[in-house]
Chain length 321, copies 5
């Protein structure tokens, strides 16, 4: 779906076709063309009307691009990743938003999943300042909103990690390692998409590309700060997940230790006693304990109690109990 | 709460409103405006009187900022983190202090938790040199005191790590891993807030920002040295905590080994003996040992002792005992 | 096998010998010489006709070279690695393609395994644009196709890692570690060949070598992007394999825990019961339970049930069951 | 304690006070002032006679400084760490030696522990070349000797690591992990003090500070080489200690395996035999083995031997024996 | 032992003393002086005839130097490491070859172990081109041969690692960890000597030192490539050894699991059965099974078989069998 907005003489209106004169900066028009999940015929606008470089057009039309910023003659091609809203699932999912930023126009290409752009498309006709501030300000607006949408997902991720940290000490569900592995993967994915985006924004903030004003570079520096913090969070999360895994392994070992102590204590107490009863069950004459037959039972009971107490004292001294 | 100090003609006095002429360096006045947990109306002073950039003002008013230094036209915006005094708790907590450093003024914005600034606010009227040395010197003073407050907390952290190192060899409390994990997190947090602060101070020391004199850069280099040492400590702590965790895992394994040896020795000694008594308990005629019935008992005892001694000798040779 | 194509006056034809004038750029001819697994006499064309540097010729003729780009006087010597198609095996295998890129010629040397070059050799006579666009465009074409051939192998590798990730939770086949180790080695190999290729392509894209036009540098940047993504994938794979190994070790420990719990529970329940039956089997008078001989049996059964229930309750409280 | 040497007209003499004219390079005098554990009044010489920067003086008087080199106006302030001789202990201990290097003087400040300086103080009056070669040569001499004193301590550390490497395979003393942890800490400390010293020496060798002649830079490059080798040794040691810990953990696991095999073999052999004897001990008529009562015993013995042999064969096939 | 070759007027001859005029480039003579394990008097040639810097001479005469390249006035001092041929041992051993490279001479100092130099010493008189191509070409020849000698040792090391990788899955010899540790140390040593050599060669290839011609820099780039590949191999080896250790630990755990399963299965089957026989051995009247005394035995056997089958089914369901 192609949506075209043009801002002329203080007013923003939606049009259906592009007047090529608008592409000329001196015309004073600001143009925003949004291609949501464009069909092949719709994509011709990129190569024919705007005459973008075939490689950039190919990238814009292909599914998942790596975040990057590339300067071409007279325009900038930027790929950034937005985050999906995940009402039900627990995993990250991103979509890429490709932008062509020219002196008097902004062209955005995406798969139609971007909530940010959908909202701006709604506001554009009602809020003339949106396009009126020029294509760079509009582009900053999109980038800023896209980065802001990461925060709630990051917070959810942090909550899940907090929960894991609790769980690791409380229970020993067999799913724990699976969950740890899944979060680890999510965090790795987060880092993997944020690091190149950070580099793109650093270049925008540093004004590596000449068509960005000082004022705009301040704004991109602000977005850059947010992205740096998210990248930093990802590193912290990674560290914490490693810690959780270590704690889990240590807990498993500790529990094994506990189990084995119980087995050992019980065996060490009962095996000698069973030998004793076995000996008295032998069809072989044993030497008599002094004091008659019934005294024999009490002697036996006494020896059993002595063995038990001795063993328990021994374990206590070794701090097993 | 807004506190305004102005230094003119060798005297520092607290005033309630700002004369805009003071902002002009040629007026010779030095101004310190402190906003402790400012309300929205109070924050207007930032945007209206000083006309700071809206993004910087927004950052200054928002809760937790990442440490950074940003040059704007005519002033410097610096975010640094101070440390809370923690009488009872064991964890780190920091608050951010935002400073706007202009040619003739210093504006500090914080959440009212900063002990450093509270103390300086008390001293300012009594000690005219405080503002008299200019806004950079005042700013250095604040930064220096903020960094000095880290040292006692670092020392406490080191003590806790020393303690953990002792504990890991002495006992095997189930809380040990939990404590290790908590200290690890604290150390990670320390590193995370010190690294960007170190970078900010390096830039101040290197005079990346032109309005810092050689003398002041020497002083910031001194603060920078302190921060480098703290960052370095954090790395050492991290290394030591990893070592403690390794030692803990190795200890758990060693203890399991000890437990299993006891179980094995006892089983290996008693099982053959029990088989023997079981055989003599069978309702099946056994071949007679030579020497009559009572000799039979002594034969049996002899065999038992021989098995026991043989097994123990075997374990001794394998170095289990 | 030596194949020589020359493009003159809009036509590409295969010839058997080289006219030295073609090497002169002003002649307007474009020359492609392909040496597939060249014999020593065939390789003389490199040193005699083209007068390439002896070291470069030696490298080109030797078996496995490290990916690299080296500028010599008037030509560029580039080594890149293509990937073998692996219908049956599971491991990566690569072959190196050496290219000499001059102002009016491209010389490719390889071991005859390169599918990319075989295909282009077929197309060259039919598609005059192939050589007509100049040697750099032809070289880009080869590099682009070679890099594209990596993708299906990367995908297969990813599938195998996905599978491993499933397996690690489902079964405990003794071959798992062997497989993990093999994939780890594959991923390391992938990284090892991609990293220098990425550097070579970055230099081509940055136009470190003067004979590359802006348009061509755009195209190499595109190939570079693909290689960056593959390198990035390799890093992610490495991370995931480490995670799989951790999960495997944790699972082994968990299973040991489970096994030991069963042993301990059974031992702890049956050993006391066996002691009891042993005591009643002794040839020694026991004190009578009240209520006659048959009551004695029921007392015994009651004690057994009580011990069993008590032990199980204890284990349940410790969360073993 | 303040010791002052002055070299004039080819002679070095110890004096008690400083003639301020000596500080002037044109006077042709070379001055060495050594402050060993200076008292506060003694330290006034730094701020008053030499007028060093207050921050540098403060650093010089404070306990443990981080190694660093700082250029001030007209002099260089360098902090380096010497090593204590450790006749009895096993741990590293260092003291810092602070030097102020001016055009015609060298001022050294330390805690009186430096053997290097004590020796040079003895030689200074007797060896006029010591001061005669200028302050930089004297400073190089001190630095060179300080670094040389590290070597025997490094060798001792290497011996201790060699020993640990032997021990880990021979015995399983519970102190092993404690020792490993201690050496790890020592090595970390070594790295921590050598890395900044290396950087200081690199700057001296690269002549970052203008008052160092080519000849002197050659000499500092030589010292730098020694420090690089020590830093490199520290990295190797760290690697080896990690290897020792891994070997230790693996050994503990191997030993547990051995213990468990013994337990399992014994249990698997004896439990079936005990069941057999238990069955024949039952007060229940069993079916008769053919061949009369005494044959019954030999049947039983035969079955026991068969079970034992079968089990052992099974274990041998699984390579447990 | 000092060997002196001089190349004049197309002829190379061995002489016994040096004519100082030869050191002058304009004399057109090329001089090669080789000092194999020089005595102190022999070493005087370095300081007296050539007047090399005392620090360089000291380094050249001392035992093991770190690989490095240092430019002095008019000559280059280079330390490189050759590898010993190890017919019997398995460990790496290297010797350092020190070279002084001047405009018209090459001086090599070594401990007499260098096979490379011994061979060249033999060829020098017979092959006039060796010295005739100038001292840089001769130096390149030595370096090239030294690096080539690494390859067979690297291949042996790779074979040993391949073998370890096989062994880790096949057997569990107690020496495995010892071997792993030894190879790890070898690989670390390899990396440690190759990394600085790579840097030296990179500087030679980049022509950091002005007296190297373009042609020679091509040749050094070739040697550099070999060294890079060896360094790269060392990294790969390190990775593989880490993988082998992980696999070993995982195998030990797996085997422990297997052992424990056998113990648990046997215990769980036999303990209930033993309880049963114990109960029937009690001197206490048991309730009669219906069907007379001999039926009692068959009941018992049935219960035993039922318990056994039930337990085995349970283990099968948990996938232990």
């Amino acid at each position: 779906m192609v949506t075209i907005f043009v801002h002329r003489e203080g007013k923003t209106e939606q049009v259906t076709s592009i007047d090529k004169r608008w592409l000329n900066r001196s015309a004073g028009a600001v143009l925003w063309v949004d291609l949501a999940a464009p069909s092949i015929p719709e994509s011709l606008i990129l190569s024919e009307t705007f005459a973008f470089h075939p490689l950039a057009v190919e990238d814009a039309m292909s599914a998942l691009q790596y975040p990057k910023a590339e300067a071409y003659d007279g325009y900038l091609y930027v790929v950034l990743h937005g985050i999906h809203y995940q009402a039900t699932g627990v995993c990250f999912a991103t979509h890429d938003v490709d932008s062509f930023l020219g002196p008097s126009y902004l062209v955005t290409v995406h798969d139609g999943e971007s909530r940010t752009i959908a909202e701006l498309r709604d506001h554009a006709p009602r809020n003339p300042k949106l396009l009126g501030d020029g294509p760079v300000a509009l582009f900053h607006r999109i980038v800023d909103a896209m980065v802001d949408h990461y925060r709630p997902e990051i917070d959810k991720l942090e909550d899940r990690i907090d929960e894991l940290e609790e769980q690791v000490f409380d229970s020993s569900s067999p799913d724990l390692v699976r969950q740890i592995l899944r979060e680890k993967r999510d965090v790795a994915l987060l880092r993997r998409i944020m690091t190149p985006q950070r580099d793109v924004l650093a270049r925008l903030a540093r004004r590596d590309f000449v068509d960005i004003s000082t004022e705009m570079s301040f704004r991109f520096r602000d977005v850059y700060d947010h992205v740096v913090r998210i990248t930093d969070d990802a590193l912290t999360f990674q560290d914490r997940i490693t810690g959780i895994l270590d704690a889990h392994l240590s807990n498993v070992s500790n529990r094994l230790n506990e189990v084995m102590k119980v087995l050992t204590i019980v065996s060490v107490v009962f095996l000698p006693l069973m030998l004793l009863t076995g000996m008295y069950g032998m069809n072989v004459p044993l030497p008599h304990f002094p004091g008659g037959d019934s005294a024999q039972f009490w002697w036996l009971a006494g020896i059993s109690v002595a063995i038990t107490i001795g063993m328990l004292a021994y374990f206590r001294r070794r701090r097993w109990l």
